[in-house]
C-alpha cells in the first residue's frame, strides 16, 4: 500500500549514516579521480592533456581495441558455449547432473588468474600437455599466450555465469509454451529460435552484461597469460604502479574513460533488456527427458567435456600443490613441501585474508540488512540514490576503485593508504551488492502487512525490525554473505593496487609467487583458497536449501 506514514525515525538516521559511508568511500574517491584526470599533476592547472595523450597515441588506443576484442569475444563465446549447455541440462537427463551443476559453480568461484596460471602449466611453452604432445606425437600445440590464452581462460571462467543465468530462466519457461508451439507445427530449431530464445533474452542480456563487465575489468589473466597483450586494466595498473614514469593523473584519466565506457554499456543493456522483459513463472516446468542413441551420447559428451575443462585448472593446481619441489622446480614424488613453504613464507597472507575478510563480512552483513531494508521498505528519493550507489561496484572495475581510494586517502585529512582499513573499505563497497541483493530478494517476499501487524500489536519500530523482519530475512542475508565472503577471498584486482607488505592477501601472494615462478607455493595457496570456497559453498547450499547462486 502506498502512502504509508512518513516519519522521521531511527531509519532516517540509519539511512543517513549509510549514505554518508557511500559518499566518503565511493562518491568522493570517484570524484577525486575525475578531478585528478582533468588537472595537470605538476602545475595543478586545468588541462585535457591526459585525455589528449590517451586518444592520440596508438599505444593506448591499441590497448582499448585489445580490451574490446577480448571482452566482446569472451562474452559471445561464453553465450555460445554455456547457452547450449544450459539448454541440454534442462531438456535432457544427464547422469550426475546435480554434481555437474555444483562442479560448474565451483569452477566459476575461483579467481580467474589462477585459471590463467594453471593453463600455462598445462599448455604453456613447457606445459605438461605441450610437452606430452610434442614428445609423443611430435605435434606442436598452438600458442597459449596472448589473445587466444586470455580468451580460453576467461571463457571457461565466465561461461558458468551464463550457464547459471540461462538455467534459471529456462526453469521459469512453462512447458505448455513449448507444447503450444509444437501444436502449431513450430518445432525443432525454429521453436527454439522463435519461442525459447526470445523468452530468455532478458536473462541472456543480464548474464552477458555480467560477463562483459568481468572480462573487461579482469586484470590478472591478461597480466599472466597475455605476455605483452595489453588490455586497459593492465595499462592502468602499469601507469599507476610502475616505478618509472608512473603517472597517477594519467591512470586517473584512463579510469574515467573506462568508467564512462562501462556505464554506457550498462545503460544500453538496461534499455534493451527493459524493452524485452516478460514475467514468467512456470506451472509445468520443462522436464528433462532421457535422450536416445547418438543424441544422448553427444549431450553427455558436451556436458562432461565442459565440466572437465572448467575444472581442469583448479584440479591441476591442486595436484601440483602436492608435488615434491626442489627450489622452484617440481620433481618426482609427492610431499607437503609446498604447504610448509606457503605457511612459512607467506603465512601472514593467510592470516591477513582471514582477518580482513572476517571484518569485511561482519560489516557487509550489518550494512546489507539495513540497506536492503531501507531500499525495499522505505522507498524514497534518498533510498533510490542509495540503490544506485550499491549498483555502482558492478560497473566500476576493481582496479579503478582501488586507484580512486588510494588517490583520495593517501593524504590528509584521512590517511588510510597502506592500512587494512582501506582494503576493508574496498572489499565492503565491492562485495556488498551480493548480500544486499540476496537480502532484498527475501525482503521483497515479505508483505508490508507483517510489519504493520507487529506495529499494530504495540511493538516499537526497532522491536518490529529485530523480532519480526530480521528473522524473516536472515536466510537470504547469510546466503548472500557467503557469496560475498567467497568473492572477497578470491579478490585480486583491488587488493593488488591497495596492498602493502603488511596487508598482503592470499590472492596477492599467489599472484606474486606465480610471477616469481614459485609455482609450488602458489599452488598450495590456491588449493587452500579452493578448499575454503568449496566448504563455503557447501555451507551456502545447506543454509539456503538452494542448488544455485545468483550473482
Amino acid at each position: 500500500m502506498s502512502g504509508r506514514m512518513k516519519r522521521w525515525d531511527i531509519w532516517s538516521l540509519i539511512t543517513f549514516i549509510i549514505f554518508a559511508g557511500y559518499l566518503v568511500f565511493l562518491a568522493l574517491p570517484l570524484f577525486m579521480l575525475l578531478i585528478k584526470s582533468f588537472f595537470d599533476g605538476t602545475t595543478g592547472e586545468f588541462s585535457l592533456a591526459y585525455f589528449h595523450k590517451f586518444f592520440s597515441k596508438a599505444y593506448y588506443m591499441n590497448a582499448v581495441w585489445n580490451s574490446i576484442k577480448v571482452t566482446v569475444s569472451v562474452t559471445l563465446l561464453s553465450i555460445l558455449v554455456a547457452g547450449p549447455l544450459a539448454y541440454i541440462m534442462t531438456i535432457a537427463k544427464i547422469k550426475g547432473s546435480a554434481t555437474v551443476r555444483i562442479l560448474i559453480l565451483i569452477s566459476s568461484m575461483s579467481a580467474p588468474f589462477i585459471g590463467a596460471y594453471a593453463w600455462i602449466l598445462l599448455l604453456g611453452r613447457s606445459g605438461v600437455i605441450t610437452k606430452f604432445m610434442s614428445g609423443v606425437f611430435g605435434f606442436s600445440m598452438p600458442d597459449i599466450y596472448g589473445f587466444s590464452g586470455i580468451l580460453l581462460v576467461l571463457t571457461l571462467q565466465l561461461s558458468p555465469l551464463i550457464f547459471m543465468y540461462v538455467s534459471g530462466a529456462l526453469k521459469n519457461v512453462d512447458n505448455s509454451l513449448m507444447e503450444a508451439a509444437e501444436s502449431m507445427n513450430c518445432t525443432g530449431l525454429r521453436k527454439m529460435w522463435k519461442i525459447l530464445v526470445p523468452l530468455i533474452m532478458p536473462t541472456l542480456l543480464a548474464g552477458g552484461l555480467l560477463v562483459f563487465m568481468r572480462a573487461f575489468a579482469d586484470f590478472g589473466t591478461p597480466m599472466l597469460i597475455g605476455e605483452g597483450y595489453r588490455t586497459v586494466p593492465v595499462l592502468i595498473f602499469n601507469e599507476f604502479i610502475s616505478e618509472v614514469g608512473g603517472d597517477d593523473g594519467f591512470a586517473a584519466a584512463i579510469s574515467v574513460i573506462v568508467v564512462v565506457f562501462a556505464v554506457t554499456v550498462f545503460l544500453l543493456q538496461k534499455y534493451v533488456a527493459n524493452r524485452k522483459s516478460y514475467s514468467m513463472s512456470a506451472l509445468n516446468p520443462i522436464e528433462p527427458k532421457k535422450l536416445k542413441g547418438i543424441a544422448n551420447l553427444a549431450a553427455h559428451a558436451y556436458v562432461y567435456l565442459f565440466t572437465l575443462l572448467a575444472l581442469m585448472p583448479q584440479a591441476y593446481v591442486a595436484y601440483t600443490s602436492f608435488l615434491k619441489t626442489s627450489g622452484k622446480i617440481f620433481v618426482d614424488g609427492y610431499s607437503l613441501d609446498s604447504y610448509r613453504a606457503a605457511f612459512s613464507k607467506v603465512g601472514d597472507s593467510i592470516y591477513n585474508t582471514f582477518m580482513m575478510a572476517s571484518i569485511t563480512i561482519i560489516i557487509i552483513t550489518l550494512a546489507a540488512v539495513l540497506i536492503a531494508y531501507v531500499t525495499v521498505k522505505r522507498k524514497g528519493a534518498v533510498a533510490n540514490v542509495l540503490d544506485t550507489f550499491t549498483m555502482l561496484p558492478y560497473i566500476v572495475p576493481g582496479s579503478i576503485l582501488g586507484i580512486a581510494l588510494l588517490v583520495t586517502f593517501n593524504k590528509e585529512p584521512l590517511v588510510l593508504s597502506g592500512t587494512s582499513v582501506i582494503l576493508i573499505a574496498a572489499f565492503v563497497i565491492r562485495r556488498l551488492p551480493y548480500t544486499i541483493r540476496s537480502s532484498a530478494a527475501v525482503l521483497h517476499q515479505v508483505n508490508d502487512s507483517i510489519e504493520e501487524a507487529a506495529i499494530s500489536l504495540g511493538a516499537s519500530t526497532m522491536r518490529t525490525f529485530f523480532k519480526i523482519t530480521v528473522p524473516m530475512m536472515i536466510s537470504g542475508v547469510f546466503a548472500g554473505a557467503i557469496i560475498s565472503w567467497i568473492s572477497i577471498i578470491t579478490e585480486l584486482s583491488t587488493s593488488i593496487i591497495l596492498y602493502t607488505g603488511n596487508t598482503r592477501t592470499m590472492t596477492v601472494a599467489v599472484y606474486t609467487e606465480v610471477v616469481r615462478g614459485n609455482y609450488g607455493v602458489a599452488a598450495a595457496l590456491s588449493t587452500l583458497l579452493t578448499a575454503i570456497t568449496v566448504v563455503s559453498l557447501l555451507l551456502f547450499f545447506k543454509l539456503s536449501g538452494k542448488k544455485e547462486v545468483t550473482m
Binding site: 502512502g3 506514514m5 502487512s449 507483517i450 501487524a453 507487529a454 499494530s456 500489536l457 504495540g458 511493538a459
Partner: protein, 368 residues
C-alpha cells in the same frame, strides 16, 4: 474496553489527488460496522486511517471523542486482521498470539492464561505449537483473529479477512467471526467488497464509492431501500426499468411502466412536478416480480431459464427488448419453458423509485 469511533470531515490525499473528500461517520460502541464498496472506493484507505497506517490530511478521527489523528498505530490499542493474515512465519501459533501481550509487558502467568483462553475461543488450541506453514488458510485466519483480539483492543479492524479463503470456508469463517465478535463485544470495523458477506456479519454497513459514503444503514435497510441506483445495483441483483410518474384520478402518484402497466405508489405525490409528470427509474429485485400467464403486469417472453436447485432464474425479454431477471422458488412452480409469453407484476410495496439520474430514492424514509 470498546470505544465509539467518529470521523469528522476526514480528508485523505495522496499528493494532489484527493481520495476521500470530507467524510463524516459515527460508529457506535460495540457495533459490527462494515465498509463495503468496489475496489478503489477508499474503504481500505479509511480502515488504515483508523489503524494509523495512513496519514489523515484533514478533519478529525476520534475514539470516544479523543482525537487520534497523530497517535501512532502501536499506541491506538487496536487489533488488526490483515487480508493475507500477516502471520509471523517464524513464530509458532502461540508465539504469534503472545506477541502483542509481550509488547504490553504482561506477566508470564497471565500471558499464558490469556493466550490459551483466546485460542480456545477461536477453536485452534490443538494447533498452538504448530508453525504457520503447517496450518490451513482457515486456521491461519483464526490465528490472525486470536492475535488481534487477545490484547483486548478498543477496536478490531479487519481488512477483507476472508478474501483468500474458498467459498465454503468463507461462510464458516464469517459465522465464526460474527460469533466471536458477539462474545467479545468489541467495536469492529470490517472491510469487504463482498456484499453477501457484509450483510451476513454486519450490524450496519456503509456503502462507499469514489471515497464518498453512499448510504449507511442496516443490511435490510440497504437491500430493501437503497439510497440510490448505485447502491441498488451494487447490493444484490436488481432490474432497473425506465418509468413515468403521473398524477392519478384522485391526485395520488401512479407509476406507468411499459405500455400497459400502472401501479399506485403512495406517498410520492410531492415528487410530481407542476406538469404533473416526472421521468423516473424503478428498481425491482428478481424475487419481487410475480410471474403470471395473464393479468395486470409487464408483458414479455421467456428467453432463458436456469434451474439452480433452490431457485430457478428466468430471463424475460420485455416489449421494448430490455431483458429482466426473475427468481422463483423452485419448489413452488414448474420450470417455465423458453418462448412462453408471460406477465410480470411487481409485489406491492417493494418497488423503489429513483429520480431520472438515479441519485435519489424517492421512496426513502417511507415505510416498507
Amino acid at each position: 474496553m470498546s470505544v465509539a469511533i467518529s470521523f469528522k470531515d476526514i480528508v485523505k490525499k495522496y499528493g494532489d489527488t484527493t481520495v476521500i473528500p470530507e467524510l463524516s461517520l459515527d460508529i457506535q460502541k460495540g457495533e459490527f460496522f462494515t465498509l463495503l464498496g468496489p475496489s478503489g472506493c477508499g474503504k481500505t484507505t479509511l480502515l488504515r486511517m483508523v489503524a494509523g497506517f495512513n496519514s489523515i490530511e484533514g478533519g478529525n478521527l476520534g475514539f470516544n471523542n479523543k482525537v487520534m489523528n497523530n497517535v501512532p498505530p502501536g499506541k491506538r490499542n487496536i487489533g488488526m486482521v490483515f487480508q493475507n493474515y500477516a502471520i509471523f512465519p517464524h513464530l509458532s501459533v502461540s508465539e504469534n498470539v503472545a506477541f502483542g501481550l509481550q509488547n504490553r509487558k504482561v506477566a508470564k502467568g497471565e500471558l499464558q492464561r490469556r493466550v490459551e483462553e483466546i485460542l480456545d475461543t477461536v477453536q485452534i488450541e490443538v494447533y498452538k505449537d504448530r508453525m504457520p506453514k503447517n496450518l490451513s488458510g482457515g486456521q491461519q485466519q483464526r490465528v490472525a483473529l486470536a492475535r488481534a483480539i487477545v490484547i483486548n483492543p478498543d477496536v478490531l479492524l479487519m481488512d477483507e479477512p476472508l478474501s483468500n479463503l474458498d467459498a465454503q470456508l468463507r461462510v464458516d469463517m464469517r459465522n465464526a467471526i460474527k460469533r466471536i465478535q458477539r462474545e467479545v463485544g468489541i467495536t469492529t470495523v470490517y472491510v469487504t467488497h463482498d456484499q453477501e458477506e457484509a450483510m451476513a456479519v454486519s450490524d450496519r454497513i456503509a456503502v462507499m464509492k469514489s471515497g464518498i459514503i453512499q448510504q449507511v444503514g442496516t443490511p435490510r435497510d440497504i437491500y430493501q431501500r437503497p439510497a440510490n441506483l448505485f447502491v441498488a445495483t451494487f447490493i444484490g441483483r436488481t432490474n432497473v426499468i425506465e418509468a413515468k410518474l403521473e398524477s392519478g384520478a384522485e391526485g395520488e402518484a401512479v407509476l406507468h411502466i411499459g405500455s400497459s402497466y400502472s401501479l399506485a405508489v403512495p406517498g410520492l405525490q410531492a415528487e410530481l412536478k407542476s406538469s404533473g409528470t416526472a421521468a423516473v427509474k424503478i428498481s425491482v429485485r428478481p424475487e419481487e416480480f410475480v410471474l403470471a400467464e395473464e393479468g395486470a403486469g409487464l408483458t414479455g417472453t421467456v428467453v432463458n431459464n436456469i434451474f439452480l436447485g433452490l431457485s430457478t432464474h428466468l430471463v424475460v425479454a420485455l416489449e421494448n427488448g430490455q431483458e429482466v431477471e426473475i427468481i422463483q422458488q423452485s419448489a413452488t412452480t414448474e420450470v417455465v419453458d423458453i418462448g412462453r409469453k408471460v406477465t410480470l407484476a411487481i409485489l406491492p410495496g417493494t418497488v423503489n423509485v429513483y429520480d431520472a439520474a438515479g441519485e435519489r430514492n424517492l421512496n426513502r424514509g417511507l415505510d416498507l
